[in-house]
Amino acid sequence: MSDWYAANIVLVQSTMTTLLLALSIQLPLRVGVFSFAGVGCYGIGGYAAAICMIRLEMTTWPSIAVGTLLAGAASFLLGLLIQRLNGLYLGMATIAFTLIIAILAVNGGSLTGGAAGLFGALGDLTTGSILAVTLVVVVVFALSETGGLGRRVDAVREDPELAAAMGVDVSRYRRMSFLVSGLVGGLSGALTILLRSSITPAEVNFQLVVLALTVIVVGGFRSWAGALIGSVIFVWLPKALDFVGEWETVVYGVIVVLAALYLPGGVLGLAADLYHRLRSGRRGGETDDEKGAGGADAGPGAVAGREFDQLAVPGEGR
């Protein structure tokens, strides 16, 4: 076990930082905001943490805190700036934001190390401490999916007008999603860079957007668990696909296409559907009866004399 652990420690750590990045992209999607600003925030967090350590000679965790907060602030301001945009336009604006961060990094002179990037920012990070931080984030995200908050988030995404009619402040939820997405993206960037000890502008690019999106599409975009499933798949897949050699990226692409076509809710969505079906099926007679009454085949004959809650012949008698 410990041999396995020693051999795969990089992948274990990478799974967690990928999960954080995926969560930062997933959160806006959950409130119906098509934003990829999380990747730009990854860059801000990474660079800020590296600069704190190398140039300001700060210790590991304060550097991570600076990177995280700075990214959160940048994302929140971006959210305010582009909150009137929607759909694809918003998506393009956030990708532009991400690319601007990369350009700033290239042209940052000695501060960012230009195209060569920054080296020697090796943080004092244990796998346990990364796990603890990741767990905190995951618990917060998991809580946001339960109870009333979870329902409100769903309503804001699926039908903002309905959400407003229910008294939900839709734009506040969207602003908050930018803030939290920025914080988590920044955290992911800071952790990644202090683990690797280096960062280059080439790492904050469109490919990272694609990776994060792939993780969510395949895993499932509605829940943190989907992001976790996706992160595990795509961090460990290259290792599992060793034998296909150069065909790796092709296999990768095929998986994404298949997931997009056949698993609209991702692996997690599939599991959740099966669970719901099992549960409502196992409740037995009661539920099955209703399904029968609710079905379109229940003829008019079935209507007479039945109770209100069993009447369900759609469209009849119009």
């Binding site: 769903d154 009619a165 229910m166 719901h276 539920t287 369900a312 759609p314 008698g317 119009r318």
Partner: protein, 260 residues
């Protein structure tokens, strides 16, 4: 004086609409509409497609920008409030099309109506849960409360929407074609439900095409064409009104009238 006190006096209407106009470019969807709803009655709006009924409802719930006019709830102007303030005022509505969260159960959909983050404490939460279960009971969906909307018939889905609106504990309930797609028995049940809510003092405004149901259910009818009010008053009188007949009732009126 607060709005709550104002509406308990019968002479202050729950809702008052003054010279309401909503224009989309050159299209005058609603143009100079004035009416008021007194507490505890069921009001109906009749009108052919495109007569501005739904636009009027959208204006009253602040979903569209007013070109002109004033809206007062319990005597207080509210036409500068955002749509999300309607729930707090006590205005609940259903929509013309089914708008439910597909991945949530019936009960969770109704719970959405009560998801006020200001609700604190176990007792308050239990009271809210009770209100939700009562609303589901009233529309007769208790046995299917754990199913998802996609597993229900269209008529049942519409009833989930009505339950959601009732669970908001509103002072004014706006129903946009609540019985569309329902069979006769279901329509009668909805009508009985509205009467039951009225007995508890709830003011209701309903938009419907079914003239017979409107005559049977409503205390007061408004008839609209091209964004204007052409008649209002006692339902049978409104239905018989020559302008109303000419505008859109046609032969349907004859049948509805004979039975009335």
């Amino acid at each position: 004086m607060t709005a709550v006190h104002a509406t308990t006096k019968p002479e202050v209407p729950v809702l008052e609409v003054r010279d309401l106009a909503v224009h989309f470019g050159g299209v005058k969807a609603v143009d100079g509409l004035s009416f008021s709803l007194t507490a505890g009655k069921i009001f109906g709006v009749l009108g052919p497609n495109g007569s501005g009924k739904s636009t009027m409802l959208a204006a009253v719930t602040r979903l569209v920008r007013l070109t002109r006019g004033e809206l007062l709830f319990g005597g207080e102007p509210y036409h500068h409030e955002p749509p999300r303030a309607m729930a707090g005022l006590g205005i609940a509505r259903t929509f013309q099309t089914v708008r439910l969260l597909e991945d949530r159960t019936v009960r969770e959909n109704v719970l959405l109506a009560t998801d006020d983050h200001l609700i604190r404490g176990r007792a308050a939460r239990r009271a809210v849960a009770e209100r939700v279960d009562q609303a589901i009971e009233r529309v007769g969906l208790t046995k299917v409360r754990r199913l998802r909307p996609t597993e229900l018939s269209y008529g049942m889905q519409r009833r989930v929407e009505i339950a959601r609106a009732i669970a908001m504990n509103p002072r004014l309930l706006l129903l946009d074609e609540p019985t569309a797609g329902m069979n006769r028995q279901e329509r009668e049940d909805i009508s009985a439900l509205m009467r039951g809510l009225q007995a508890e003092g709830l003011t209701q405004l309903i938009i419907e095409h079914d003239v017979q149901m409107m005559v049977d259910t409503c205390d007061h009818l408004f008839a609209m064409t091209t964004g204007k009010l052409i008649a209002e008053g006692e339902p049978r009188a409104v239905v018989r009104h020559p302008a109303v007949q000419e505008a859109y009732l046609g032969s349907r009126h004859g049948r509805g009238h004979a039975r009335a």
